[in-house]
């Protein structure tokens, strides 16, 4: 099961919904890993919509699990990318050429949705008009508030910043501008006194 119910948190923490078909002249899906399942669910509700859509899909560690199933939906365009970084130029170009009436659907991990949301809002879509649905890993994209370096797919709390090596506490404080949660040094007062890392939501 790729769905996870996040516990209530502070206001800054993004809240995700369930993708639903919406009226629009064009439809763009951006998904990673188990996010494919949410696209398949939308296709169940409205086959024509997805057949009309452009899908940008990054399988991550799911390999070929979903690629054939997505192709079977016969989307107007489909791109399977090796990473978000490799796909973002395509996303930017798609948004630059798009017109009002485009519907954007983001699904998969928080890091993917956050970064694609940033591109979509930069392109002029109000963030409240962009649909999101979380699927798959609950790992987070974290920014170290000290060195500003980004560490992707953080699943343990605390964790070691992959840039400066500080021990960082995983906060729910989120930045839409950075598309990342804030990681704050956990042992600043008492260096070396670091609690044992536990997996998020375990």
């Amino acid at each position: 099961m790729s769905k996870f119910k996040f516990p209530e948190s502070i206001k800054s923490r993004p809240v995700y919904g369930t993708l639903e078909p919406r009226a629009g002249k064009a439809h763009l899906f951006v998904a990673d890993a188990e996010g494919a399942e949410a696209i398949l669910d939308v296709a169940k509700a409205d086959k024509d919509l997805v057949a009309n859509a452009h899908i940008i899909y990054i399988p991550k560690n799911t390999g070929d699990t979903y690629v054939k199933k997505l192709e079977a939906l016969k989307p107007q365009q489909m791109y399977v990318g090796p990473s978000y970084a490799a796909s973002v130029t395509r996303l930017q170009r798609t948004l630059a050429d798009a017109h009002m009436g485009l519907q954007v659907y983001l699904t998969g991990t928080e890091g993917l949705m956050g970064q694609a949301m940033l591109e979509a809002t930069n392109a002029g879509i109000p963030y409240t008009a962009i649909q999101t649905e979380h699927r798959g890993s609950v790992a987070r994209r974290m920014q170290c508030v000290h060195c500003k370096g980004i560490t992707e797919d953080v699943i343990m709390d605390p964790f070691v910043c992959s840039h400066c090596g500080l021990n960082l506490f995983v906060r729910d404080h989120y930045s839409r501008r950075l598309a990342a949660y804030q990681g704050v040094c956990i042992d600043a007062e008492d260096p070396g006194n670091v609690p044992e890392a536990v997996e998020l939501y375990k």
Partner: protein, 321 residues
């Protein structure tokens, strides 16, 4: 009272008749100081001393928002209305002193937009006059589609088309020229925001078509001031002020409260801004809700009323004011 409605004493410096229906009024501060700047789309509430009645009517400021020497409004004469526009047309002359409120903006540009698509009907052109000047200063990306009844009644058409020949599109009803809305909205670049000001039918048409084509609600802005409609007189008990007041046929509930010296909040006086929202303590009768601030279930609940435009018919009404 009323947040944001500090007053400015002004003197009428110029009156320009634009056509059969519309006249422009220009104001200077009586104390010789500068006006505050405002943002395009802002309105001011004008106090009109019409005999025993004090009328407070909102009008969009249409002068250059950066010009602190003069405020300008354009008033369309409404022979069927309650008399505010007739008062301005018939009773006001150059040199008269009047009172304006500080500008309040309920129809501002969303400056995150990549492009501003303006749609005006008739006198609905006025807020756009100021917005266009603001966007010109900022080198903004905009275009205007302006529908008027006829060439003779096309206020500011010449000014707009001569200064912005490529951005202004005029449609005359009597020449069977109509805005091709579906084609206009189709193909607008991502990040375009729509602004519409005009008759209710036009606003509903634009909002409906935009929603149908998948435009986000947040990218569609509209301004519709309702004038309070006359209705049967009714009696209201004001619980906080401990007064029983009569609302006359030609006045609104808000105006009746003000006449009785009750300090009631307001901003737009047109059912749009929500400032005057008032709790109902008890009632026996039926509400005539005319605002577009409260939700339908709030209208049905009998617990709230917007006294600027809504009325009441029945035996008793008790308000928390």
């Amino acid at each position: 009272m009323s947040a944001g409605t500090d007053k400015i004493a002004v003197t009428i410096s110029n009156i320009v008749k634009l056509n059969d229906l519309v006249t422009r009024f220009e104001f200077k501060r009586t104390d010789g100081e500068l006006f505050p700047t405002f943002s395009g789309g802002a309105h001011t509430v004008i106090e009109m001393k019409d005999g025993d009645i004090t009328r407070l009517n909102p009008y969009s400021l249409m002068s250059d928002p950066r010009d602190q020497s003069t405020y300008m409004i354009s008033v369309r004469r409404d022979d069927e209305g309650r008399g505010g526009s007739l008062f301005m047309h018939n009773n006001v002359s150059v040199g008269d002193e009047m009172v304006l409120s500080y500008p309040v903006n309920l129809f501002s540009l969303d400056l995150r937009a990549k492009k501003h698509l303006m749609i005006a009907g008739g006198i609905g052109i006025t807020p756009f006059m100021a917005q266009i000047k603001q966007l010109d200063h900022a080198h903004g990306n905009w275009e205007l589609h302006y529908a008027c009844r006829s060439e003779a009644l096309g206020s500011y058409v010449d000014e707009l088309t001569s200064t912005h020949p490529n951005d202004v599109n005029i449609y005359y009803d009597d020449q069977k020229q109509f805005i091709d809305l579906e084609n206009l909205l189709d193909g607008q670049p991502l990040g375009t925001h729509i602004y519409v000001c005009g008759p209710k039918g036009m606003i509903d048409w634009v909002r409906g078509k935009a929603a149908e084509l998948g435009w986000p609600r947040e990218a569609v802005h509209y301004e519709e001031f309702l004038a309070p409609q006359p209705g049967k007189p009714f009696e209201v008990k004001l619980a906080v002020s401990n007064k029983v007041i009569q609302v006359g046929e030609q006045e609104s509930l808000l105006e009746a409260m003000e006449r009785e010296g009750v300090d009631a909040p307001y901003l737009c006086r047109g059912g749009a801004c929500g400032q005057c929202e008032t709790n109902v303590i008890g009632y026996d009768g039926k509400f005539i809700h005319r605002d577009h601030w409260l939700e339908e279930d709030e209208h049905a609940s009998g617990k709230k009323i917007m006294p600027c435009v809504s009325r009441f018919e029945g035996k008793t009404l008790v308000l928390d004011r």
